[in-house]
């Protein structure tokens, strides 16, 4: 576990800026996750206090939404689209290829912590299915070769 107190200045500045925004909780969680990479456990009490919410309410919101995570992410995040349009263009075969290459299920993180997989249901690129997002960047009209190159790119970068 990294030292979470490291993130306190970020947490405080986000709360200072956003606490009076109407419906501030989601913007706050996004800002903390953007800055720290995840929602540190110690942020929860700070947020609850600033917004006058219970700890359970804050945790309930964090766990409800697929985007929020409470542990640090891998260096790379690959989100393969698994929705209908991409499925009809072979997304399941690409998912199997990833499972085989990385020895990961749909949600896991590789043993070296380099890359984590997450399914996503539509990236709005359906006219060019199949599609994925790698570290925030969209790639469409994926082929097995293209996918392999993208993953190898991530893995190689990690070894140096």
């Amino acid at each position: 576990m990294p030292d979470e107190t490291l993130h306190l200045p970020l947490i405080h500045s986000v709360l200072e800026r956003e606490k009076d925004t109407p419906g501030a909780l989601l913007p706050i969680l996004h800002a903390i996750q953007d800055g720290a990479g995840y929602i540190p456990d110690l942020a929860i009490a700070e947020i609850a206090h600033a917004l006058n919410l219970s700890l359970a309410e804050v945790r309930g919101v964090i766990s409800f939404y697929h985007d929020f995570r409470t542990t640090p992410p891998a260096r790379h995040t690959l989100r393969l689209c698994r929705a209908e349009s991409c499925q009809s263009m072979g997304a399941e075969r690409l998912a199997a290829q990833l499972r085989e290459q990385l020895e990961l299920d749909d949600h896991g993180t590789s043993a070296d912590g380099q890359i984590s997989l997450r399914p996503v249901y539509c990236l709005g690129a359906c006219a060019c299915s199949p599609a994925l997002e790698l570290d925030g960047r969209l790639h469409a009209r994926l082929t097995p070769e293209h996918l392999r190159d993208l993953v190898n790119g991530c893995l190689e970068e990690g070894s140096c």
Partner: protein, 519 residues
């Protein structure tokens, strides 16, 4: 000086538009060829992306789909006979796919630069807002009512009636909320509009705010659309600086401002009441109606909630008149609809047409059949909660009522095409699993029934004798009925559509006997 255009749309970029643009700039510099490169929105002819356009005296000439490696040969061709290049498409506006469309909402698509107010104004931008301010709120609401515009987010409720309800609601503070969650797979028109023509949405929201008496609006955008979020935020700043938003919005003497809020990866937050809860900073659970959001919406106050395309339709209704808009469409489905062709399709993209063309014209005419070249199996219309429609029903006109009559729905206008290799039993399982994963948890059929449904499909597929299979199929049909009648919102209620339609039209995929009556 050559004037060249290439889209900055996220999907055009996802298939290489940035690389083509970089290569163009580099290669032109190497050749000391003076060029001006404009990053425009996308036409939505995605199978041609990256699509390069050369602005000339007789319109724009297209080249595509390009890769960076094609750039030198294209520049060679531009120096001589442009039409001789193998990827030359001729005048873009003459491409049949585009020429036959009726573009009202997407009239600027592929032509203007998304963040240029000058481009926007040069093509009719803010004429609707000016007209609405001149008319006043009451007449603006009347124009929306007369236009016949119905909500484009799926439920197709008459927009004008909502506007009138919010306008007449007595409250000091009211809101306009734009539902930009676009969670349905196979849909991307909201994304294209926000990335490509953000001022149109801003203009529509300003008209709505002034007409119903709201001083504040929110655009709730799904987090999967980072480019749309970024573009909207920049557009808001530009519009505010130019006086279209703020204390004296558009010179109306009244205040209206907008903020962008980002979702966090929950499909159910596209449902309007769950969206409002999410905007309030809560878990996105569905609220029972009544009370209607129009009377008790965001923070308990009267709120006009509309889809991106609904709000973006308003400027043209005001600028050209309600009658102009009504003249498009059929029956009670008036105006134009941006249909979105996706999945296993040769020519995927956006087709904006008046309601009433048939699904066959869309899939076979525009779409050109499957991308794989294999036989067409079915099309799912209206997102993950939409029915799988077999080719035998493809002559149905795209009209809300005609689709409802055959147990399907138009929804948000997304069409996902599948060839014969797609296994419909797996797709039925997927629909139930999706429902289980995305359920807000409020009602039992949706929360628990969806998980049980996955198990039933698994048992059905694994059954080795006909009687056992039929028994599981019966259970599945029964579960669909329960979902449909026992759920609070359409996530549970309409998950029955993809499941029941797959079971009905493709029994063989479930290992069931096919009877003639089923076909």
């Amino acid at each position: 000086m050559l004037r060249l255009c290439i889209p900055c749309d996220s999907v055009a970029r996802a298939v290489g538009a940035d690389e083509v643009a970089d290569s163009l700039l580099r290669e032109a510099e190497r050749r000391q060829l003076p060029i001006e490169l404009l990053r425009t929105s996308s036409r939505g002819l995605y199978w041609l992306e990256p699509l390069l356009e050369l602005e000339g005296p007789e319109g724009r000439l297209g080249f595509g789909p390009l890769t960076a490696a094609d750039v030198p040969s294209v520049l060679d061709a531009l120096a001589g006979n442009a039409g001789s290049h193998p990827l030359a498409l001729g005048p873009v506006e003459e491409i049949p796919y585009l020429k036959s469309q009726q573009r009202l909402l997407f009239a600027r698509a592929g032509i203007t630069r998304p963040l240029s107010l000058e481009d926007y104004r040069a093509r009719g931008g803010f004429e609707g807002l000016d007209r609405a301010i001149a008319l006043g709120g009451e007449a603006t609401v009347a124009a929306v009512l007369d236009s016949g515009l119905r909500g484009r987010g799926g439920a197709a409720f008459p927009a004008g009636i909502k506007w009138r309800t919010v306008r007449e609601a007595g409250a000091g503070q009211k809101y306009v909320v734009c539902n930009a969650d676009e969670g349905d797979s196979g849909t991307f028109a909201d994304r294209m509009l926000m990335e490509g023509d953000p001022f149109l949405l801003i203009e529509g929201m300003a008209i709505a705010g002034l007409a119903v008496g709201a001083s504040m609006g929110y655009v709730y955008v799904r987090s999967e659309y980072p480019d749309a979020i970024d573009t909207l935020n920049q557009a808001l700043r530009i519009a505010r600086e130019a006086g279209y938003l703020g204390a004296n919005a558009g010179g109306s003497g009244r205040a209206f401002d907008l903020d962008v809020r980002v979702g966090a990866g929950a499909y159910i937050c596209g449902e309007e009441t769950a969206l409002l809860d999410s905007l309030e900073g809560k878990r996105g659970t569905v609220r029972a109606k009544p009370p209607l959001p129009a009377l008790q919406g965001l923070f308990g106050l009267p709120t006009l909630v509309h889809n991106v395309l609904t709000l973006a339709s308003v400027p043209i209704i005001l600028a050209r008149g309600a009658q102009f808009y009504r003249d498009f469409g059929m029956g009670r489905s008036l105006g134009t609809m941006p249909f979105q062709l996706a999945g296993n399709i040769r020519h995927g993209g956006l087709v904006e047409r008046a309601f009433g063309l048939t699904l066959r014209e869309l899939v076979e005419g525009y779409g050109g059949g499957t991308a794989s070249g294999r036989p067409l199996k079915a099309a799912q219309v209206g997102g993950p909660l939409g029915a799988w429609v077999p080719p035998a029903q493809f002559d149905t006109p795209l009209d809300y009522e005609a689709f409802a009559a055959m147990g399907a729905m138009l929804g948000h206008g997304g069409v996902v095409v599948a060839d014969d290799s797609l296994d419909m039993a797996r797709m039925a399982r997927f629909a139930l699993q999706f429902c289980a994963e995305e359920s807000c948890g409020k009602c039992t059929p949706c929360r628990i029934g969806s998980t049980r449904g996955v198990e039933v499909v698994d048992r059905l597929i694994a059954s080795t004798n006909a009687a056992a299979r039929e028994e599981q199929a019966e259970l599945l049909r029964d579960l669909c009925d329960t979902l449909q009648s026992g759920s609070l919102c359409a996530l549970g209620g309409m998950t029955s559509y993809p499941v029941a339609s797959a079971l009905k039209h493709f029994p063989a995929d479930f290992g069931l006997q096919t009877s003639e009556a089923d076909q």
